[in-house]
């Protein structure tokens, strides 16, 4: 009998094309997702060397990062540089014959949302994209991670990637989550516990009852932010929920291939007794709704806490915390719930799926944005947008005073016109609170969709559980 293996070990083993003496492997890539920002130089490289895309049928491209989210964008993109980048992708997709969802296509959206939506993402696959949030696809039990543009070119030309194996890390969330606590709170709390470098050099497998109890969309939210914890990829073993989600999607296998795939997918779990190099366990009951206070995703605290004193940290973090507080315009000791906001952003590959919009809409129903606060909802894909309109969610958002936009990355990184003004403070469902991320001088507090909705109503960071309680007693 062979030694017990982790889920990561199994997927890895099934994709090794070649192993060198020093342990460097050539890994086969099943799906390559491509977007407009990190690909132009890679296609240019192919042209310069006269190389082709080796497996165009396994390559899927979509513009998402700098497309405007307002009407008319399929006719004309005003920002010239953005337009050039999108046009370059149009041209490259055509020239190299790869799968493509242009802005005019209803299926266009954030690359990590449309991969699963269209059934490109399947359990047991290796998936790469020139984008760090590729980890999202790990929710299906696929080994998925971000790569740089040189590697994009390498995958385009060879359908392989040169890799050294990472270490195995297990993150177990035991028990069940309490009301008002979501997948976003799990993933932020894990980063809070391990730090942004805690996962460096590891592939994380998330497991435990609380993870099993999450929907596929919740699992995607968890894996999405594995990279914020420094991990190359996050994984969750596939189960019936996974298979149900995948079944019937446009690019999922059908008939006999489906049966064969299912039999294989059911072998994708970590064997009893397999070795993990690092284990982190968190009790689901202990996780509270959280927000970030600083400019690193590890700056996480329960909403009931206070802004920390930089002196309470050690080493280089003392200076970093002070710099964060200066940038964020906060003083130690103030209650997090006293932090007033100017804007709310609901969207991104972390929380731009239909369940996220449903959850936020449930809090916002019949309510209004607090005076002076602007709100924007950006669905993760054209199909999510359509479904939200059919379910009446769009109406709830617009009635509350939110702008209802077309699909894209939008404010998450502010490459398109959707940005924060200097000093503007935003409750955001995205994944990075870096300085300038959402616009130069903009201040970001990361949180779940329900927490962002709660803040939208009150105009300050708010414990969503209070709003839920009030609704129950009304």
């Amino acid at each position: 009998m062979s030694a017990p293996r982790t889920l990561y070990d199994k997927i890895w083993d099934d994709h090794v094309v070649h192993t060198s003496d020093d342990g460097t492997c050539l890994l086969y890539i099943d799906r390559h997702l491509v977007h407009e920002v990190t690909s132009p130089q890679a296609f240019e490289g192919l042209r310069m060397t006269g190389r082709k895309v080796r497996a165009p049928e396994k390559t899927i491209a979509v513009p998402d990062h700098n497309v405007p989210t307002t009407a008319g964008r399929d006719k004309k993109i005003d920002n010239e540089e953005s337009r050039i980048q999108v046009e370059a992708l149009d041209r490259n997709a055509k020239e190299f014959g790869i799968n493509y969802y242009p802005v005019s296509d209803i299926r266009q959206g954030i690359v990590h949302i449309i991969g699963p939506e269209q059934g490109w993402t399947l359990p047991g696959m290796t998936i790469v994209c020139g984008d760090s949030h590729t980890a999202t696809h790990g929710a299906f039990g696929a080994l998925a991670h971000g790569i740089g543009t040189s590697e994009v070119e390498h995958v385009l030309a060879t359908q392989t990637l040169i890799q050294k194996k990472s270490k195995n890390m297990k993150v177990e969330i035991t028990g069940s989550l309490r009301p008002g606590v979501t997948a976003k709170d799990i993933t932020l709390s894990v980063i809070g516990a391990t730090g942004t470098a805690g996962g460096t050099g590891y592939v994380i497998e998330y497991c435990g009852q609380a993870i099993r109890e999450l929907s596929m969309e919740g699992r995607m939210t968890v894996c999405n932010m594995a990279i914020e914890g420094g991990a190359r990829a996050g994984l969750i073993a596939p189960d019936e929920k996974t298979f149900d989600y995948v079944k019937g999607r446009p690019h999922a296998p059908k008939g006999a291939k489906w049966e064969a795939a299912l039999a294989y997918w059911k072998t994708l779990f970590t064997d009893e007794g397999a070795h993990f190099d690092k284990v982190v366990t968190i009790r689901g009951e202990d996780i509270a709704p959280v927000v970030t206070w600083g400019t690193s995703p590890e700056d996480v605290l329960p909403i009931t806490a206070e802004v920390p004193d930089p002196a309470s940290f050690t080493g280089g973090k003392v200076g970093a915390a002070q710099r964060s507080l200066d940038y964020m315009g906060l003083t130690p000791g103030m209650k997090l719930t006293d932090i007033k906001i100017d804007a709310v952003f609901i969207g991104s590959c972390t929380n731009g799926r239909i369940e996220d919009l449903r959850a936020a809409a449930a809090i916002l129903k019949g309510k209004k944005l607090a005076p002076g606060v602007r709100g924007m909802v950006v669905p993760g894909s054209g199909l999510v947008r359509l479904q939200a309109e059919e379910e009446g969610l769009a109406q709830i958002f617009t009635d509350a005073g939110f702008e209802w936009r077309l699909a894209g990355c939008s404010m998450c990184l502010g490459m398109n016109p959707d940005q924060l003004a200097p000093g503007e403070r935003c409750a955001a469902t995205s994944n990075r609170n870096f300085e300038g991320r959402m616009g130069r001088g903009g201040r970001t507090h990361l949180m779940s969709p329900v927490m962002a909705a709660a803040a939208a109503i009150t105009g300050h960071l708010t414990d969503v559980r209070e709003i839920m309680d009030a609704a129950q007693h009304a």
């Binding site: 920002v37 050039i84 696959m125 020139g130 392989t160 710099r323």
Partner: protein, 201 residues
């Protein structure tokens, strides 16, 4: 890709932890379709005011460090996005080596693809080199990839680890794709095998 063998140059101190890729090259400069020309926007939001004036305090604006070729930085350098624009901007500015206690994974890989050497050293060594770098252009640090050493201006030498394959490629300026294409027959046979084992993929 340019080779990296040895480098003796001015090192700029950046004692900040978690320097992320958004700081290294803010997103407004990701709209380029070229690899070059990003050096002027390296660390843009720390380096210039909103109206484009240089911020004199920022290390790379100080006369001693305008020609720095080495960065000595705090923990977890390069965290955040996968944008290769970060190493492209460093390279375009003239930085060929970054020294820190730790690097984010994707950034670390991206460096090697662009002829930049990321060097991981223990905290005490980084501190020593940071203090050295603070002396400005009088302190020249030498990085030798072949012997895997960094030598401070006072002669103190630190050894570092580097992956043998990455070292080989960097020393010789080799193109990964060319190397992999030599293994095309292995890829062909993997694909043939895969077509029966996992036909849905």
């Amino acid at each position: 890709m340019d080779k990296f063998t040895t480098l003796t140059g001015i090192a700029a101190p950046m004692p900040l932890v978690n320097i992320d890729t958004d700081m290294i090259i803010p997103k407004q400069f990701l709209k380029t379709i070229k690899r070059t020309g990003l050096g002027v926007n390296l660390f843009d939001e720390m380096r210039y005011t909103q109206d484009g004036q240089e911020i004199p305090d920022f290390v790379l604006n100080q006369p001693a460090y305008r020609k720095a070729q080495i960065l000595v930085a705090g923990d977890n350098f390069g965290c955040g996005s996968s944008r290769e624009h970060a190493p492209w901007a460093l390279l375009d500015f003239g930085i060929r080596c970054v020294i820190s206690t730790s690097f984010a994974d994707i950034f670390f890989n991206n460096c090697f693809k662009n002829g930049i050497l990321p060097v991981v050293l223990p905290e005490a060594a980084v501190q020593h080199l940071m203090d050295d770098a603070r002396k400005g252009e009088n302190a020249r640090i030498t990085v030798d990839l072949e012997s895997q050493t960094v030598t401070a201006s006072d002669g103190t030498t630190f050894s570092f680890e580097v992956d043998p394959f990455k070292k080989h490629c960097l020393l010789n300026g080799l193109d990964d794709i060319g190397l992999t294409l030599e293994k095309a027959s292995a890829i062909d046979s993997f694909e043939a095998k895969n077509a029966t084992l996992r036909p849905w993929a």
